[in-house]
Symmetry: C2
Amino acid sequence: MPSARPPRPATLTDVAAEAGVAPSTVSRAFSRPQRVNRHTREHVLAIAARLGYEPNPAAQALESGRTRTIGLLVPDITNPYFAGVIKGAERAAAAAGLTLMLGDTQENPTQEEAMVQRLRRAVDGFVLSAPRLSDDELLAAADKGPVALVNRAVPGLACVVADFDSGTRQIVDHLASYGHPSFVFVGGPAESWSGRRRWRGLRTAARRLGLEATRFGPFQPKLAGGPAAADAVVASGATAVVCHNDMLAIGLMRRLAQRGLRVPDDVSVVGFDDIFGADFCNPPLTTLAERTEDAGARAVEALVRQLPRRTTDQPARVLPTELVIRASTGPVPDRAG
Amino acid sequence: MPSARPPRPATLTDVAAEAGVAPSTVSRAFSRPQRVNRHTREHVLAIAARLGYEPNPAAQALESGRTRTIGLLVPDITNPYFAGVIKGAERAAAAAGLTLMLGDTQENPTQEEAMVQRLRRAVDGFVLSAPRLSDDELLAAADKGPVALVNRAVPGLACVVADFDSGTRQIVDHLASYGHPSFVFVGGPAESWSGRRRWRGLRTAARRLGLEATRFGPFQPKLAGGPAAADAVVASGATAVVCHNDMLAIGLMRRLAQRGLRVPDDVSVVGFDDIFGADFCNPPLTTLAERTEDAGARAVEALVRQLPRRTTDQPARVLPTELVIRASTGPVPDRAG
DNA sequence: ATGAAAGCGCTAACAG
DNA sequence: CTGTTAGCGCTTTCAT
């Protein structure tokens, strides 16, 4: 009695033998269907189906040098902001017949470098989201394989960035319209390119409107960074604060509440990202919405575009941003008392 | 003048040639350092370093049949619950020297099946989180390669589940202590194993304490499922509701607020998962906390354990749960009026 | 301790 | 249109 089921999955050679044709014919039947007699092809395909044949990606990769896989590195998977990027990237990758390898760099440049190193040969290219690496390191990585960046612009590299110039202007306009004479920017990690961009935009917009802008930080771009930031804000007596991201803003608001400050009555709070949670926290957070899923998808598309040839003369794709005004911002408090 | 930098990455053969030894020696220098003369080894390693040699994973995979990669499939990446699972899995995988491939099945059994199929040959095994496939389909998948399940128990398969028996008891005890004579369970997808487990536990606990339990649904386990659920709850006049998960609970609370119902004054709300956001929504949500990162990590460990040999006689690992009591639950309303 | 040689599964010339 | 042949980069007997 023969064994019920072959433990070893069927190979192309098995199919060829069973079908009574050469391996190359089987290969062609799959990859260049036109180039094989219709009859033969159908026969081969039928046998393949019967044997449950599926091509071995490792063998294909060895031969072609392409793994049909791309690496996506994000600083923190649990940050809902990146969940959007991941989802968009996943979708675009699937659409291009590519598989995603995901890595969490833990906001750590060293870790990021190590992961790029580790995955390099296993993927056809990388999407680096909010990378913490320096421009030079990024350029070096791009030298060894295709790279696309999300929310980071490096000359010569493909990148997708949010329109922070417009976004920060929207924020400052909003605060100015409420009569705030000044605001504090609660900064995130010093390595954060988008953080620098945000601050630069805010400062420029503030100058234009005659507001005074001060930068605090760096703080961790997480809930955990909130308390320290809040305390600094309280001490400063600021009437409005713009936070590096929503996580930090939410963490800050919680601390503010603990300390008896009301948002927006005593202090207005603005965030960046419009993450999941920004609309149901208390109070709902005024924040700059980015198109995170779009960003992830666009980055993958940009990567795909440079997969065959190595040219990267693509202009940075900048995605629109939109200020979502909710309940965390309001008029400047009347401190006449 | 020789070209500045070889465009093609160095191969093992290049190293061998440069070092003046056989390819097999280079191979051994890396994989069986003891089996090669210390002198030779150091020489080879030095050359390899100089050439920037890194083994080609595809070639290794082709030879060994092992990719050192595992697939992680989740129903919805943007659900913070799964972010925890992903993070834990990522960490455990990295610790085991494995890489994660991530897939979002979009709560869709067909999609899940397709992804398993597509990735099967590219990974050494799968961690399936809250799979939507049937037991039989799962068993079939496990027949073709190692599988570990998160929050799903199938006899014969490795699985990590939360302790819903204890958890649901905690919930019902809590509601009973507040004097609620009955509650409504707002159910998620019918295919959800944990959903069935939750309802079963709740009903059992309710019976034991003499509470009346009713099940509504199914509803989408997302914010978007909230409104419909809320309307059903309002119509029922329930004083307490337990939701399939936090996303649904939060969506429901928002709709309740729109309809003028106060939580917990008019109706108490309990969720499952303790996701990011459950502690800062309004009001903060009473919910059953699971150890999601632990679950992800344990599942990967269970998978790793069955990577060499195919035995899966591992008992289900059940992780403790803990009711986090916040502000969304309170005494049964006095409806004397 | 090291080398020679075969082969993992697949694709790509090159013949025919 | 199809078969033959020769590798892709690496590991692994089997000799030496």
